[in-house]
Amino acid sequence: MRAVAVGKAELKLFWRNRTALFNSLVLPLLLVPLLISVDLDGRALVVGVIGFVLLMAVYYNLVTTFVARREELVLKRLRVGELTDPEILLGASLPSVVVGLGQTALFAVIIGAMTDVALPARPWFLLAGVAGGVVVFVLLAAASSAFTRTVEMAQVTSLPVLMACMLGSGLVIPLSALPEQVASVLEFLPLTPVLDLLRAGWEDGPVLRPMLVLAVWTGLGTYAVRRWFRWDPRR
């Protein structure tokens, strides 16, 4: 796979970028004791941490990566080579995705062991949730980067997705604590179906609707990237 060459270079860059390292390796780690002190339910914790990883290590990191590579004219250069457009995006996303998946596994095991969470009875729903979440948040990051002029601006332009998902997808406030009408609207946020599928790994819950919602977000994300993604800086 030719995209791996780009992915390997990105991984080196990730390792040399202290901000990205902190955001995706240290920040979630600091979150664990905080979450454990608030909530004693291990399953909810695992689900919540995976949600945070998707938002921070995958989505936020990738918005900054796409913007940085665009402004450095790296994307423009890659586009005159042999790689196809999807291969370039895949290559650039690879380290964030790999790091995100690694963290997900690590935190799930740590928290699981600390709080005695049972092994999921239906692990395939868990996997579907993680995989779907990665795809959707990579696409959303690429779409958001189109509206972000500088790496610094990513802190602002990523806020709508980050805030909506943190506040509206049951990460901080459980959806069951909200009025039913509000909750039923929040089910359509991109992170809600991911968390639903993760929970479905352990307990009965909606499965079909979250999958459909994720499929719709994947379609919307793909459309947005094809329509708006910028390969070179605005001049």
Binding site: A5, V6, K12, L13, K76, L78, V80, G81, E82
Partner: protein, 294 residues
């Protein structure tokens, strides 16, 4: 055989601005074709379409027989592109950046070979952000050559290079031409085009205003004879300009005018001190064209 064929190319930007208007040219296999022009003449806009980065608003482009935009997959493995401003992640080293690029290619040269072609071997372990502007240009050239291209696009390849590096780059490009590589060059160094190009086109405000071999383009412009005339003797030629005693004569037939002038001087026993006769240079032709078109 034609390597690059451009027919009636027009490029329009979203605001409706026409950067390139009805441009046509051919580049034969193994030939170097240079696109010259003032800043904003549309050179880069033209080349970007030929490279397949964008679709033309009107007209057709063929590179090695294929549409570079819709048949990118077929064209890219056979071409090398050096953008006017290409980017590398600043925190990669020179050899890491080259290695990454090699990993994306079908049949790359070894990284060491590519770096030695552009004299960057000694900088292999230096981070890209620590390179000088000229070194960065050479790294860009190394990447363009990495896939052993049949067609090479060079957009201002020697901008920012010191005179020695520029000569070395010219030598490298000449060697590639001898190997049969086709080169489409854009440059604003006229001596570069004069030294390297088989044929050239001069662009002005999105159009091609002159096209041909260097001598075809230059021959349309008058040659120049200058000397310090003897005092008190009427000259047999029309003086175009006089600067501190030195007169300049322009002529469309240098040999004839020079013969006339020298015969007259000989017959009259007159000395034309500081005599200088020359054909128009590409620079003069270029300036005249830019002035006419303005």
């Amino acid at each position: 055989m034609t390597a690059i064929e451009v027919r009636g190319l027009t490029r329009r930007y979203s605001g409706g601005f026409e950067a390139v208007r009805n441009v046509s040219f051919d580049v034969e296999r193994g030939e170097m074709f240079a696109l010259l022009g003032t800043n904003g003449a549309g050179k880069t806009s033209t080349v970007e379409v030929v490279e397949g980065l964008s679709r033309p608003a009107e007209g057709t482009v063929r590179v090695l027989g294929h549409d570079p935009f819709s048949e990118r997959r077929l064209v890219r493995p056979r071409v090398g592109v050096m953008l006017q401003e290409g980017g590398f992640p600043p925190d990669l080293t020179v050899s890491e950046a080259t290695g990454m690029w090699a990993g994306t290619l079908t049949s790359p040269r070894p990284v060491d070979e590519a770096l030695s072609l552009v004299d960057l071997t000694h900088r292999a372990s230096v981070r890209v952000k620590q390179l000088s502007g000229g070194e960065r240009r050479r790294l860009d050239l190394a990447l363009a050559l990495l896939g052993k291209p049949e067609v090479l696009f060079l957009d201002e390849p020697t901008t920012g290079l010191d005179p020695e590096s520029r000569r070395n780059t010219w030598k490298l490009i000449r060697a590639l031409l001898l190997e049969g590589v086709t080169v489409l060059l854009t440059t604003h160094y006229l001596e570069e085009a004069q030294a390297l190009a088989d044929r050239l086109a001069i662009m002005h405000r999105g159009r091609i205003v002159a096209q041909g071999t260097v001598s075809e383009v230059v021959d349309a412009y008058p040659a120049r004879i200058s000397f310090v005339p003897p005092e008190g003797v009427p000259l047999p030629v029309v003086v175009e300009a006089e600067v501190s005693g030195r007169v300049t004569v322009r002529t469309n037939n240098l040999q004839e005018s020079l013969h006339e002038l020298l015969s007259w001087a000989h017959a009259n026993g007159v000395v034309l001190s500081g005599l200088d006769a020359r054909s128009a240079s590409l620079e003069e032709a270029f300036l005249a064209i830019a002035e006419e078109a303005a």
